[in-house]
Amino acid sequence: MSPTTTTEASAERKLARRRGAGQRRTSLFAHGEPLVWLTGGALALAVVMILGLLLLVLRQGLPTFWPSEVVQVSTVAGGVHAGEVADVDVYRPEAHVLDALPEAVAARARASLAERDGLSERRMLRTGNYELTGTHYTWVSDFELAEETRPEWILVVERLENGRFYGTPRSIAVQGTTTEGDAQLVWDQFERHHDAARERWQVKRELETVEIGEVNRLIEAARLELREVELAHGVDSEPWRAAQRELEQRTHSAEAEFQRLRREIDALTEAGRGSTLTLVSADGASTTLALEEIVRAYPANRLSTAERIGVYLSRLAEFLFDEPREANSEGGVFPAMFGTVLMTLIMAVLVVPFGVLAALYLREYAKPGAVVSAVRIAINNLAGVPSIVFGVFGLGFFCYIVGANVDELLFSAKLPTPTYGKGGLMWASLTLALLTLPVVIVPTEEALSAVPRSMREGSFACGATKWQTIWRIVLPRALPGIMTGMILALARGAGEVAPLMLVGAVKLAPELPLDTHWPFLHPERSFMHLGFHIYDLGFQSQNSEAAKPMVYTTTLLLIGIVVALNVLAIWIRARLRRRFQGSQL
């Protein structure tokens, strides 16, 4: 066979093979299409779940502050309830409920129930008026409904205690002058004088907490000085007597200051006493509320959309910037937000340098071998340790050992009251820093090993030492990777709750850990945390129905804060990346 015919024959074979490609000869799995569907499906499922989570939180969290209309219902049993619809539900009423109804109505109710296979709709009204009814919510079934109205002048009153009040204004007294009768007139009076009353209350509160707190602080400081002198020189020594006199003097002057403040407060209380709003609830009971104790009131059924948005925004602002009240189920979450952000930032400041140093040693200095591998495995496993274990460690080590020793050494005068020997911001941050350490070390190591060998060699060839090379070449180049570690640590740290419950997060912290008193940052103080706040709202609240929407709203806020922290870090990383990793040949 000549070479030409060989070539021809092989070309023919190739052609034949290609022609055959029209029919499916390779198996479905070899083509890999089912795998495309499988992998795509897995991703789609993940996306749907995440979107579902976000949608649920948005759906439940966003309407929390929306002022809905107030309905007033009277039941066939004779009860009258007014409130906002908080929930709608379908259920199967028990027979004895129907038996309890008056005969005529029961028959009608039975008939309507039979039509719907024994099911009835019921609504949960937020009826408030806790001091009158002993409950915040009332279920009203459709079959027991006699009449439903939307009274024009019914007010929703948010106040400092006992939850909301729903009722029609009857009279208002301002500094002794009473306006009575027409709801419009009363409401106008209320709008005119409410702000002043609230302002007076704010001033009073300021005096009670800040000013009197200041006086107490001074006395406490003098007492501590005396105690210190006592510890150093013993009781009845000469310096002790001097300190004793000093304390007496200061207590004396503080007492005078205290009396002055007390009088001021009393005057304000007296001024507020004459300003009250009297409301009539749906069932005819009347209640008188002090103006200054009303946080917000609005005629729910008279509001235009713009006014509703106004109420919504005012509630949102209160939520973001105010302190909580009513066992956290009302008011704001500012201290919790502040605590979360501050703790997360302190944690980042602690964990990033620590993690980077550890990663540097592991990657740059340690001789690869069994020990280094073991350490690396241990670090990776640290990421899998349940977080509560870190909490227990933090409590046992930081609070009870380190903190107790710090107290012995520096704050012995305050003992037996612990300063650092209990949960606090510092220990919480340290515990979380420990928890997130592997999250920083692992990406940092990866970033370090991704720095091209050629760059290191170039630096060494210029006569740079190892440290100079690391400091000037390797670290800047690895910075975006280190930032990735930091982002992961922030996300992990901001969302962690379990260990915090042991090392310093509390239900209600009287003071922020950052204030205007030296040294401004108080790492020993307990703090509030959004994650813990959610847990507290959802599972520890007395008024759990009222707290439920707040749970979602707070969750939304926590997600928002974590996202904001991450976006910030990602933005910084993008900037660094542009600077340190341009187009590489």
């Binding site: 060699e457 000037r472 070449i473 180049r477 340190f580």
Partner: protein, 309 residues
């Protein structure tokens, strides 16, 4: 003129059809009795004396390599290399991949110290100072030697900071000194006009050829006694390569250059001396003209004319 005739000869040698008789056209002034049997000797691991041309004896030397051996773990990469690098000249090292050229180059500034498994024997001297003497400060030594790598490796910082990096790590703070060195180095590397308006831009945004010239500027900013170039053009396109070659031509005289290249034309065009290495041995070393036009060993001629390797 010389470069031209050299290139012509090379062209003749490499473009000639493989079957024709080369001996007829290239005159052989061979005196070495081993000629033609060198590879055989290497294969049998017999010792042999490399063919070093007499012209080198009259040169002033910047770097002396004496019976230098190097092992990577158990495998021996360099066999008793003895080589003298003349001052102010360009010396090229050629040879097939894996012959040890880069290893030898990296031994000069002790970059091989970074690899744990490397062992060495023998000595090198930079202007008389022993490079491998015990107690020799490697950091100080490297500051006396500039090096440019195969792949451009600018640092992740501005152009200015890249050029003055050797001064920075020396702790130089005087802004006037730094600016002066930056300008003169960039001028020296023929990059000044292209980057003078954007010295604070990231060096990583430069093109590949510019990056490599920047690396040269960085290497010469510390006024090195010898400049090592490790295949400086292998990652560049022909135009960038041409510019680097022109630059080498300009640097000649002021700097002593030792370069590794895979590109025979480049060695022929730019170098004064050429060393041919094979399997960790120095085979022939002499003036580039002689190596390319009348090599003493048949093996050298075969390699240059592209008959193997």
């Amino acid at each position: 003129m010389i470069a031209q005739s050299r290139a012509l000869a090379l062209e003749r040698a490499t473009l000639a059809p493989g079957h024709s008789e080369p001996h007829a056209r290239v005159p052989m002034t061979t005196a070495n009795p081993l000629s033609g049997r060198v590879f055989e000797a290497i294969g049998r691991n017999q010792p042999f004396t490399p063919e070093t041309h007499a012209a080198l004896a009259s040169e002033e030397l910047v770097l002396e390599i004496e019976r230098f051996d190097l092992w990577y773990g158990k495998s021996r990469a360099l066999h008793a290399i003895s080589m003298a690098v003349p001052r102010g000249k360009v010396t090229a090292m050629i040879g097939p991949s894996g012959c040890g050229k880069s290893t030898l180059l990296r031994s000069v500034n002790r970059m091989n110290d970074l690899i744990d498994s490397v062992r060495i024997a023998g000595e090198m001297r930079l202007n008389g100072d022993p490079i491998y003497a015990p107690g020799q400060d490697v950091i100080e030594l490297r500051k006396r030697i500039g090096m440019v790598f195969q792949k451009p490796n600018p640092f992740p910082m501005s152009i200015f900071e890249n050029v003055i990096y050797p001064l920075r790590i020396d702790g130089e703070r005087d802004k006037h000194v730094l600016a002066g060195v930056c300008e003169s180095s960039l001028r020296g590397a023929g990059l000044w006009d292209e980057v003078k308006d954007r010295l604070n831009d990231s060096a990583l945004r430069l093109s590949g050829g510019q990056q490599q010239r920047l690396c040269i500027a960085r290497a010469i900013s510390a006024e090195p006694e010898v400049l090592l170039l490790d295949e400086p053009c292998s990652a560049l396109d022909p135009i960038a390569t041409g510019r680097i070659e022109d630059l080498i031509e300009e640097l000649k005289g002021n700097y002593s250059i030792l370069m590794v290249t895979h590109n025979m034309q480049q060695a022929a065009r730019t170098s004064d001396y050429t060393a041919f290495m094979y399997l960790g041995r120095l085979v022939e070393y002499g003036p580039t003209d002689d190596i390319f036009l009348q090599p003493h060993l048949k093996e050298t001629e075969d390699y240059i004319s592209g008959r193997f390797g």
